[in-house]
């Protein structure tokens, strides 16, 4: 598969703060590529440069063979963008929004009308098409926001955290839509800070943190980086001190790494069953009460933890 997107050392600085510190990656035609990273990692900034909204401070990218810095107009015709924050006219109806944005993408006449109807069907809002967007629920607005990005059937669709702040049902619908679109041949660049979404959707994942791409590959490739390890997540009582426990556990035999993530302690080990008793014993010894324990197979979360020593989610 040829590359539809090639990013070369993209850098973006705001004043003396560097939000994106030289990101290089490719996206193959037909795949779903996820950029996984915590808040403030630089996902939106990267998308803004790729979609020609902001000029990169240095570096360049080509999309469909066109340079984002030299031929932005050609790039814009290849891509569709679903921005992280809703970008809609609340005083217009869903249909009016779709018609306006369709026109902005050069659609008109019959093809516009039929495309708008198609998209309304796709996002499940045909019935409410004539209501103003401001009367919609958060989930419905998100769906319109996505619909706008689909109108002109872009070859490459950027979706910037499209599921943030919505109910599980709408989230499910959105993830299914993404998969459908991909089956129909659309290439997708999807950003998220949910490990599960990246895991479910993507062929390949780039992990981004503090403006740097710290890992890149298929899920298997990435989890192999962590090695044949498992993660124990220890949930402790509210009044307990996770730092103390983490320190104590670091000395336990078989523990590769023990870190505090929020109010949990994550322990990376080769085999969870082997150290379980020792871990619990150590906690008891320190008088720290463990409320529950999860054992996790290697996953993207573990990869992130392994690479940064921090949890992906800060909630």
């Amino acid at each position: 598969m040829p590359n539809i997107l090639e990013s070369q050392n993209l850098v973006k600085t705001y004043g003396d703060f560097t939000a994106v510190k030289g990101i290089t990656f490719d996206i193959k035609e037909g795949e779903i590529f996820s950029l996984l990273g915590p808040n403030g990692a630089g996902k939106t900034t990267t998308i803004s440069m790729l979609s020609t909204l902001y000029a990169p401070t240095s570096g360049d990218a080509t999309i469909g063979g066109y340079s984002v810095t030299k031929d932005p107009m050609a790039v814009k015709r290849v891509i569709g963008v679903v921005p992280q924050d809703l970008a809609l006219y609340e005083d217009l109806t869903a249909k009016e929004n779709l018609v306006f944005w369709g026109q902005m993408y050069g659609l008109g006449g019959k093809s516009l009308t039929s495309r708008v109807d198609e998209v309304l069907e796709q996002i499940g809002l045909t019935d409410k098409a004539k209501n103003r967007v401001k009367t919609y629920s958060g989930g419905m607005k998100r769906r319109v926001n996505i619909g706008v990005g689909l109108l002109h059937k872009p070859r490459l669709l950027f979706m910037d955290e499209p599921t943030v702040g919505i109910d599980p049902q709408s989230r499910r619908a959105i993830l299914d839509t993404v998969k459908d679109l991909n089956k129909q041949g659309m290439t997708v660049l999807y950003t998220t800070h949910y490990m599960e979404e990246a895991a479910e959707l993507s062929n390949r994942v780039g992990i981004i943190d503090h403006g740097e791409l710290i890992a890149l590959g298929t899920q298997d490739e990435l989890t192999k980086q962590v090695g044949e390890t498992e993660t124990l997540i220890l949930h402790i009582g509210e009044n307990e001190d996770p730092e103390t426990l983490a320190k104590a556990l670091s000395g336990v035999e078989g523990v590769q790494k023990a870190d505090v993530t929020d109010h949990e302690v994550s322990v990376i080990t080769a085999d969870a069953k082997d150290i379980l008793a020792a871990v619990v014993g150590k906690a008891n010894e320190r008088g720290i009460k463990i409320r529950s324990i999860d054992i996790r197979e290697p996953n993207l979360e573990a990869v992130f933890l392994h690479l940064t020593g921090r949890a992906l989610r800060d909630t």
Partner: protein, 419 residues
């Protein structure tokens, strides 16, 4: 070009859905126009325009000039406009005014003619120092400023012709009268012609309209002053509302979204500007239509009105853009816009004729689209046509162009996508 129009029309549509904005754009100026109409007495008496202004004339001079002035007021030409009554007692006349029985009293003192024209027999010596003429008094009724103002205007005009004659010797009206070549009726029509000239060249709240035949119809509808005054003032609200929408679209993400569609920065900015322009034209258009329908305001030459609206909105749009280019948040545009609206409203003569302002304020008023717009609308209401609008229209177009250039420079420096 198409995209420009699409963006502009979208903004117009959004404006008509924003009820709060419509109140400011349409209802407020409309109600204020009515209010100003009541304050100025436009709706009392049921007649349109000014007519039959009651005036008391006390002619103590009883010689050529005094009689000429009295006859001027009694002439057929002014019959519709004024309703003169004669009196011989200045005190009684003043009392009539104080008790609101008439708009003004004119007291022509004894010896007025003699103070102007040397008595027969004395040789006329233009180099000799002449005594100042005895003053004619216009005792005005403060509760009827418009009527009193017109009476005063007529007397002033008469006196300026007299003064002209006095300075230039005998060539003018006085000389002609003295030599019997001109009778008082002619003086009246001479004065009328003069008013007509004044109308063409100047604009004031209270000017006299003479139709081209030069005959009767002396009429100026005050609402033809207040209606455009209010429309122009609230036009400043609309352009800052439009400017605010640029920043609002930026923070609500729709501006960036337009910029990442295959649309150039220039098209997006142009479309937003067109949107402001269309909103302004729609607003002023609706207000003008409403006052023609509800108040029978005569706006004058339709083509002139159209061109003037377009030019005034263009100039005002420039201000809207400049305010926007300087502001950081939509709220800042809103508050700056409101302040500018009031300042321009006052400075531009939306409430009060610019003639009442000191000269430096009159000069300052030239930076407002309001002043030029008022100039144009009054010219039209007084019977002027597109031909007479060259000055205000040119000024408004230059104003708009300069302000656009300045705001585009500012926008480019800050980048329209970045916050």
């Amino acid at each position: 070009m198409l995209k420009l129009l699409l963006i502009g029309i979208k903004d117009l549509k959004l404006m008509f859905r924003d009820r709060a904005a419509l109140i400011f754009m349409l209802l407020a100026p409309f109600l204020l126009t009515i209010g100003m109409g009541f304050v100025s007495g436009r709706f009392s008496g049921g007649s349109t325009g000014l007519s039959d202004i009651p005036v008391v004339i006390v002619n103590l001079d009883q010689k050529e000039l005094g009689n000429a002035l009295e006859e001027l007021f009694n002439s057929a030409d002014l019959a519709d406009l004024v309703e003169p009554t004669a009196s011989s007692d200045p005190e009684a006349a003043r009392r009539l005014i104080d008790s609101d029985q008439a708009s003004a009293a004119i007291v022509i003192p004894q010896g007025f003619t003699d103070s102007v024209i040397p008595a027969e027999g004395t040789t006329f010596d233009s180099t000799a120092v002449q005594p100042a003429p005895v003053q004619i008094e216009v005792y005005a009724n403060p509760s009827r400023p418009t009527g009193a103002g017109i009476i005063k205007a007529i007397v002033d005009e008469f006196l300026s012709r007299v003064e002209e004659g006095r300075v230039s010797g005998t060539t003018s009206l006085v000389g002609l009268m003295q030599s019997g070549l001109l009778n008082p009726q002619d003086v009246a029509s001479e004065a009328q012609e003069l008013f007509a000239n004044v109308d063409e060249s100047e604009s004031t709240a209270i000017t006299l309209k003479t139709d081209t035949q030069g005959a009767e119809a002396v009429e100026f509808d005050l609402l033809a002053y207040f209606a455009p005054g209010m429309a122009l003032m609230f036009l400043m609200y609309t352009v800052s509302y439009g400017g605010r929408s640029i920043l609002a679209e930026r923070s609500q993400g729709t501006l960036p979204r337009m910029l990442i569609s295959p649309t150039s920065n220039a098209q997006v900015l142009g479309g937003k500007v067109l949107g402001i322009f269309l909103m302004g034209v729609a607003q002023v258009g609706v207000l003008i239509l409403a006052s023609s329908i509800f108040f029978q305001v005569q706006w004058g030459d339709p083509l002139g009105v159209l061109v003037l609206i377009l030019a005034a909105v263009f100039g005002a749009t420039g201000w809207g853009m400049l305010i926007t280019a300087f502001a950081r948040t939509p709220a800042q545009v809103g508050s700056t816009g409101a302040a500018v609206m009031l300042i321009f409203g006052i400075l531009g003569g939306s409430f009060m004729s610019l003639e009442n302002f000191p000269p430096f304020m009159q000069t300052l008023s030239k930076i407002t689209p309001n002043a030029w717009g008022m100039d144009g609308f009054v010219t039209l209401a007084l019977g002027g046509t597109l031909k007479n609008l060259t000055e205000p229209v040119t000024a408004l177009l230059i104003m708009g162009a300069l302000l656009f250039a300045a705001s585009v420079v500012l926008f480019n420096r800050n980048g329209i996508a970045q916050q």
